[in-house]
């Protein structure tokens, strides 16, 4: 009541002053499901407890007091000189594994704000995550990995592609962990491939070549479509399975379920065993690699691509291509960041920044930009001409053979992120992974908003409460940074326009499922939340 009175004063003051204005002032501007804890993967077991500050001990990630930057960050980075990393630090980081939960602090950089210190912590976490997920699936050290060696996330024992989870005819079929569906068209064409069941298969549905909100395909400088794919880890899959979220009908029948994927959590204080990585989803972008030279610059995959069916009579062609990784998104839900942590990496040769174009300080070539083409002839960040759909006869070549995407990075990387990238790229030595860079990490910065579940639930412990999407006015708990776009995955929505430019959390916060409000159910308790993923819309 007191607060109300006080607010009334503020509003009253505003109204007193505005009362004589006589015009509008805004006119100028435009489940708690039973997630199984079964773990069949070693990713995140044990949890990686490293962070950007020196910890109290190996089993207690609390920073020493006063806080000190970890040796990798404390080392001086001299401009123009190669950054040499102590081999012990390097080995420790490369073998540290997957973080189950972020461990960040507002301290550690004396000239930095709390927000900047935390951002550094999240970016450090992102690099650890990137290294863990891209370490070789055969458990050999990443320091010795070749460009074409299968990464952990590509191994069906660790991650499952979305279309293999969203099975056809779910009334009769149930998704099976580790089972990769190889289309008959591919089997019949490539009978000589012995390990075909282990190959990455990408089905050329619209989401594979058209960017979010159908903003258009991305065409590389060789005239090929960039391809997109989505995967999930076992913890996320198990929740889908337990709640039959792979079935559109089951989603509709279970309309009162508040979808709530399991959260990653560190072991209890003082322990290294225990903890759980929680739900992790990955979205990747690929480009077709034709030249042998390029095969040394990218992480590559030997993949089968099932093209769309041309007509009812013909079989859709299955193509075998070498794909190079150009973009890598990770979404990770943790108990302290229930709005997920959003990590984005790219290949370093994808596109120039706007500033680099203006200053004519560009590389000789890029994956999605031609430095030799002037702005009039090749205007930047334009969507391709229609039609966008791939055709039977062109394979992965875009129909208009004269068109190549001319993409620039609108929001530059911060100096701090560039600095961190140099350090981790040095850690990755001569592997192909040094050719990737972190764009930034988006995270919910509002405390305790991002930790709390339902604030009205006074009984359930915070770490056991479900994600609460009814938080108002900001269910995303103040994403930091406000905007994040990967030039290969959100190409046409880069920028800093509120609610229009790409923001992982603002966008994914709007994701829904096929649930519909049951007539006999209190509308106040119906949520249709999909817990920050659009995957549920793909149920069949």
């Amino acid at each position: 009541v007191r607060n109300s009175r006080l607010l009334a004063v503020g509003i009253g003051l505003a109204l007193i002053t505005v009362s004589f204005l006589g015009q509008p002032v805004f006119a100028q501007q435009p489940a708690t499901g039973s997630a199984s804890s079964t773990t069949t993967s070693s990713l995140g077991h044990p949890c990686n407890l490293l962070h950007d500050l020196v910890p109290t001990s190996d089993t207690d990630p609390t920073p020493v007091n006063p806080p000190k930057l970890t040796p990798l960050l404390a080392q001086e980075l001299i401009p123009g000189k190669q950054f040499v990393v102590d081999h012990k630090i390097k080995d420790k980081i490369l073998a540290s594994g997957l973080p189950c939960q972020e461990t960040v602090s507002g301290s550690g950089g004396e000239t930095k704000t709390v927000l900047e210190n935390r951002q550094r912590g999240f970016d450090f976490y992102s690099w650890l995550t990137f290294i863990a997920l891209n370490s070789p699936a055969d458990k050999t050290p990443i320091a010795h990995s070749r460009p074409d060696i299968k990464a952990k996330w590509e191994d069906k024992a660790n991650f499952m592609q979305l279309l293999n989870v969203m099975v056809k005819d779910p009334a009769k079929n149930t998704p099976e962990w580790g089972k990769r569906t190889i289309p008959q068209e591919c089997r019949s064409r490539y009978k000589d491939i012995k390990n075909i069941d282990d190959m990455m298969v990408i089905e050329m549905i619209e989401e594979t070549f058209n960017e979010p909100f159908k903003t258009g395909p991305l065409i590389d400088q060789q005239g090929n479509y960039a391809l997109f794919d989505i995967l999930m880890n076992h913890e996320m899959f198990q929740y889908m399975l337990d709640n039959k979220l792979y079935s559109k009908k089951a989603q509709q029948e279970n309309a009162t379920l508040r979808v709530d994927f399991p959260s990653g959590i560190n072991p209890d204080k003082g322990k290294t065993e225990g903890g759980d990585p929680g739900a992790i989803m990955i979205k990747v972008s690929w480009r077709v690699i034709d030249s042998e030279k390029d095969k040394q610059k990218f992480h590559t995959a030997d993949a089968l691509i099932l093209m769309p069916r041309h007509d009812d009579k013909s079989e859709p062609p299955c193509l075998r291509k070498t794909l190079g990784l150009v973009g890598f998104h990770v979404g990770h839900k943790t108990v302290s960041r229930r709005q997920w942590i959003w990590t984005s990496f790219e290949h370093i040769d994808n596109v120039p920044e706007d500033k680099e174009i203006a200053n004519a300080r560009m590389k000789p070539s890029y994956n999605f930009y031609n430095p030799k083409c002037d702005a009039q002839k090749c205007p930047v960040n334009q969507t391709p001409p229609h039609p966008w759909d791939p055709t039977y006869s062109n394979g992965l070549k875009f129909g208009d053979t004269a068109f190549k995407s001319q993409i620039s990075r609108v929001v530059p990387l911060t100096d701090e992120t560039k600095d961190l990238n140099k350090r981790f790229q040095a850690v990755l030595g001569d592997t192909v992974w040094k050719n990737y860079m972190l764009l930034t990490t988006q995270w919910p910065s509002g405390f305790p908003c991002s930790t709390e579940g339902d604030p009205n639930d006074k009984i359930t412990p915070a770490d056991k409460q479900p994600t609460d999407v009814k938080k108002q006015p900001d269910m995303n708990c103040a994403p930091a940074p406000t905007f994040l776009a990967n030039s290969t995955l959100e190409t046409y929505s880069q920028g800093k326009d509120p609610l229009a430019s790409s923001s992982c959390m603002s966008c994914h916060g709007n994701a829904v499922s096929h649930q519909r409000h049951p007539a006999d159910f209190d509308a106040r308790n119906f949520f249709n939340q999909s817990d920050f993923t659009f995957m549920l819309e793909k149920a069949r």
Partner: protein
């Protein structure tokens, strides 16, 4: 005055000591990490309740018209203390908690029973990704530096007051009842009074109403002041619609389909 960048390192450390739960999460931590300054925020809001009558209908006390030359002090764009003073001023004027206007704001007070911190230079003005406070601060400082300094000086002079918000409001003499005393006040004091109104409008509407226009409108109801929306960001941050448990047209961070349910309690919006 301490440079903002220089101050953050030390205040950040203090904040960690007070509320380490925020940063090093553990499975078995208490449900909600509350710190000493959280309590103070609540108490501060309660104390300001007295403001209810004061802000709207205060009968202005007559003050000796001793103008402070603008040159006597100026607002430092990168000063932690000045930014904290601006946040405290804004909270007094709007009735909204400091940490709502400037997420992360902290008085950095020691745990009770020690007295609350009243040193503006050791407060944490907060750091949030939107950082609308900085945009407003710079906007005002560019246009009305002398009156802005006057207002911040009032905050500095009254920071130790038992009811800080009321003391600040009383000193500014914000309401129309005080108009009759304007001839006795200095031009800077009068400018500061109308700038304070501009600041209220700025926070609630995300728009700038020039103090001269507000003064002219105050003298003649037929005068309609011009305004300009400060920025796209400011448009999304206006408090008027949040207080109304709503959101600006075209901008919402609420869950898809929220309109099918009654809005959350206003306390969810305003703290």
């Amino acid at each position: 005055m301490r440079a903002r960048n220089g101050a953050h390192g030390s205040t950040a450390t203090t904040q960690e000591e007070i509320a380490p739960m925020n940063d090093i999460p553990y499975q078995q931590r208490p449900p909600v990490a509350r710190s000493a300054h959280d309590d103070e925020r609540t108490n501060g809001l309660t104390r300001r309740t007295v403001l209810a009558g004061a802000a709207a209908v205060t009968a202005a006390a007559t003050l000796a018209a001793v103008d402070t030359p603008a040159a006597a002090g100026s607002v430092a764009a990168d000063s932690t203390a000045d930014m904290s003073a601006f946040v405290v001023l804004s909270a007094a004027l709007t009735g909204l908690p400091e940490a709502k206007l400037a997420p992360g704001f902290s008085f950095n007070s020691p745990k009770p029973p020690a007295p609350p911190n009243t040193d503006l230079s050791t407060m944490d003005p907060g750091s949030d990704p939107v950082d609308i406070k900085q945009e407003y601060f710079d906007w005002i400082n560019k246009r009305r530096p002398a009156a802005f300094e006057k207002l911040l000086q009032i905050v500095r002079d009254n920071i130790k007051a038992a009811d800080r918000a009321k003391a600040i409001i009383d000193k500014i003499q914000l309401d129309d009842e005080s108009k009759k005393d304007e001839p006795k006040r200095t031009p800077t004091e009068i400018e500061a009074k109308y700038l304070a109104r501009s600041i209220v409008l700025m926070w609630y509407l995300g728009a700038w109403y020039d103090p001269d226009d507000l003064q002219a409108g105050s003298n003649d109801p037929k005068v309609t002041p011009n305004f300009e929306v400060i920025s796209p960001k400011a448009y999304t941050q206006g408090w008027a619609l949040k207080v109304a448990q709503a959101h600006p047209m075209g901008y919402s961070e609420m869950q898809f389909g929220y309109w099918t349910r009654p809005p959350n309690p206003r306390s969810d919006f305003t703290g």
